[in-house]
């Protein structure tokens, strides 16, 4: 289950919902917005959105578990997205993940105890020339080897 932290519909999300309420395909847009607000889809927010949009909660979970993009757990402050698309996979993307797991002492889709880092395996992010590649807070680190990782993590930690 998820964190018991209380979440409320933010003003930005509320006005986004109003803008999209009557439009077809609104659910997925609203869920995108919700994830950008909270970093994931808190259950309380999913329930609240279901009520506001008159959509069964089961349907919302059908959508957010179908698409890899949506997260049900709160990610770390810095979410490390490691590409495991075809090129990165062949160039050792999995080795990068395994090394990160050792360095951070946590597995994929879980968060370090201090809440700073989480590791996520993502599909092709569109820069195969830089394979293997990872993304942290939108910043790309490419042509990686395992030895690059301790410094990258130390730099992020110091930010």
């Amino acid at each position: 289950m998820q964190t018991t932290e209380e979440y409320k519909i933010t003003d930005a999300l509320a006005s986004f919902v109003e803008k999209w309420r009557e439009k077809p395909g609104n659910l997925i847009m609203i869920l995108h917005k919700a994830q950008s607000e909270y970093g994931f889809i808190p259950r309380k927010i999913a329930i609240e959105l279901g009520r506001i949009l008159d959509v069964p909660l089961a349907k919302i979970y059908g959508v957010i578990t179908f698409y890899n993009f949506f997260k049900l757990e709160k990610p770390g402050k810095h979410n490390i997205q490691v590409c495991t698309g075809t090129a990165c996979y062949l160039k050792g993307g999995i080795d990068i993940i395994e090394e990160l797991e050792i360095l951070l002492g946590t597995g994929v889709n879980t968060v370090t105890d201090d809440g700073l880092f989480s590791i996520e395996s993502v599909r092709c992010i569109g820069c195969c020339g830089l394979a293997p590649v990872l993304l942290i807070d939108g910043e790309i680190f490419g042509k990686l080897s395992k030895d690059d990782l301790p410094k990258i993590i130390a730099d992020i930690r110091d930010r």
Binding site: M1, A46, P56, K59, Y61, G62, T65
Partner: protein, 582 residues
């Protein structure tokens, strides 16, 4: 309806436009194998077993979801098609645990049947069974997602027929599973325990909680007087489990079987139904005469009351406070009957044979279910469990001599028996309410405008010059229309659109409940319904208030409908509940 000419395996046939290949083939007596298609549901082509060919096309199509077209020749089977079907079957089986002997669907499983028909002896693919936990959180049904073949029937039933949305397809591809929204248990979801998912599941992924051993333990305990009641709908369906036609009335054999199984007294829920009519009918008359809140809404269906508490709590004041026939029968057994036979209520063990999985939940739904001072109903067995109990005892059901129910709470009227079909509670109530309002007897007791399979039925009954407006809904998806009509009238300050509304959660009513024998379709519903009405027609007494045992029980014990004692024992309350407990 326009008909078109097609060919099935080269043989010309005429079919209605819009017919699927699956249905068209049936005209030529070819039953194309399927695992996901079901007559109650729109086809959505999940399993892939029903592939067929169209002559001249190299593509195979799914018979369940492909409409026939003028002039085409459909090939329903040839060596290549059968080979493809076999491969699909092998792939499904490679994801399915080989636990047939200990499975709740052993000998009633559609996958097992196909594996037998296809002569599957080994599976060439690596076995890959999902590691998912069994969900035993509800008192009614068990979810075993490891056995799920992703046919989707349960989810579509839950969403489209029942409008409950407890189940959804989560994840995707290989990870797809049927579950409540977001890692919670079924009992924490909006599930109303109607069991329609279990009645539609082709395999053992959803099944009723088996409590047959509880019954045997009670019989074994010599200090317990075991008292059993049977519901109206059981008598027209149980026979199917012993090879009889749907709709065969086997009431007398059921009484006999129960005594052979060790029941100390055998009663009929139909008596409880007659009692419910007296209480609920009097409540209705009271509301009509004294400007009470209308419409009154029936509350004998526990799946419906659960739904209403979660989805339409604003309707609580409209709910009849009368308990269901099963609960009334239970409390009368542990009070009135206990006094008669001079046995302490704590030494009576009450069992109900029900067509319903939600009834297992109802017996402990709130404190009012302990009105006798003990738990009024100790055990509920579904029709399917009861059939297994008879089979495992070795009793030859077919050759049992008819017996009668015990007195003084076992006799029933025709009105009591029709409680098992949609419209039946309404019709039974009308027969008695007419008398209560007009002080005259209704001459033609058949109330035809509340009968039949339309999801929503509206009509009116002439109460000697006063028009009483009634409405009936069955299949949970249809109830919203009626509730919204009531809400709209209320908002506009208009008169309520109806005096009385009957709701049953399952399509067709209890005769097609979630605990009935498998394979229920509209064709079978119609036959069971016909069985119930013939039971009514051949009854000498067809009105609840004319049932001599009912008259006696008020004289001896309850005084009159809605008396203080009635309220204590036979009435209950409802409260708003959250849809999600988590």
């Amino acid at each position: 309806m326009k008909t078109i000419g097609i060919k099935i395996n080269g043989k010309p046939v005429q079919v209605e436009k819009g017919t699927t290949i699956l249905k068209a083939a049936l005209i030529d007596d070819i039953k194309i194998p399927t695992l996901c298609a079901h007559d109650d549901l729109d086809a959505w082509a999940a399993c892939g077993i029903c592939v067929c060919k169209i002559e001249g096309s190299s593509k195979m199509v799914r018979a369940c979801a492909t409409e026939v077209m003028e002039g085409q020749n459909y090939i329903t089977h040839d060596p290549e098609i059968m080979d493809v079907r076999r491969t699909v079957l092998e792939m499904i089986i490679s994801n399915h645990p080989m636990e047939c002997l200990t499975c709740g669907r052993n000998t009633t499983c559609e996958l097992q049947d196909l594996a037998a028909d296809f002569g599957i002896r080994d599976v060439p693919y690596h076995a890959d069974v999902k590691e998912l936990e069994r969900d035993e959180s509800t008192p009614s049904i068990i979810l075993d997602p490891r056995k799920c073949i992703n046919c989707g029937r349960c989810t579509i039933v839950c969403q489209q027929l029942q409008n409950v949305w407890a189940l959804e397809f989560l994840e995707r591809g290989h990870e797809t599973r049927m579950a409540p929204a977001g890692g919670i248990l079924l009992n924490e979801s909006p599930c109303i325990k109607c069991g329609q998912c279990s009645a539609h599941c082709p395999v053992g992924a959803i099944y009723e909680k088996d409590e047959t051993r509880e019954f045997l333990n009670a019989v074994r305990n010599k200090s317990k007087h075991v008292s059993v009641q049977i519901a109206p709908a059981v008598r027209v369906a149980l026979g199917e489990s012993f090879g009889m036609e749907p709709g065969s009335i086997v009431t007398g054999k059921i009484y006999a079987a129960l005594r052979k199984l060790g029941a100390d007294s055998v009663f009929d829920t139909n008596f409880g139904a007659d009692l419910t009519i007296l209480e609920e009918g009097s409540e209705l008359v009271d509301r009509i005469k004294n400007c009470g809140l209308l419409p009154q809404i029936t509350s004998c269906c526990p799946a419906w009351t659960d739904y209403m508490e979660k989805y339409a709590a604003d309707m609580i004041p409209h709910f009849s406070s009368a308990k269901s026939p099963m609960m009334m029968q239970g409390v009368m057994t542990k009070t009135y009957y206990a006094e008669k036979i001079d046995v302490a209520p704590k030494n009576i063990y009450t069992v109900a044979i029900m067509p319903c999985t939600a009834k297992k939940y109802e017996i402990t739904r709130d404190d009012n279910m302990w009105a006798s001072g003990e738990q009024d109903m100790d055990l509920v067995l579904t029709t399917r469990e009861f059939a297994r109990l008879i089979k495992s005892s070795g009793i030859d059901f077919d050759s049992l001599e008819d017996e009668k129910a015990d007195s003084p709470i076992g006799d029933y009227s025709g009105a009591g028996t029709i409680f098992g079909v949609t419209g039946g509670v309404m019709e039974a109530a009308v027969r008695t309410a007419y008398k209560l309002v007009t002080d005259k007897e209704l001459e033609d007791v058949n109330v035809y405008n509340v009968r039949g399979m339309d999801g929503v039925k509206k009509g009116s009954v002439d109460f000697d010059g006063t028009e009483i407006k009634v409405a009936v809904a069955h299949g949970m998806v249809h109830v919203e229309e009626l509730i919204n009509e009531v809400r709209e009238a209320k908002e506009k300050g208009e008169d309520p659109p109806f005096h009385f509304i009957e709701v049953m959660a399952c399509r067709g009513g209890c005769i097609a409940g979630g605990g009935q024998p498998y394979g229920t379709t509209d064709e079978i519903r119609e036959k069971r319904i016909a069985g119930i009405y013939s039971d009514d027609e051949k009854s000498v007494v067809r009105k609840s208030h004319e049932n001599p045992e009912i008259i006696q029980v008020y004289k001896d014990f309850l005084e009159k409908p809605m008396s203080h004692k009635s309220h204590e024992l036979l009435h209950t309350t409802y409260q708003k509940r959250p849809q999600y407990a988590k």
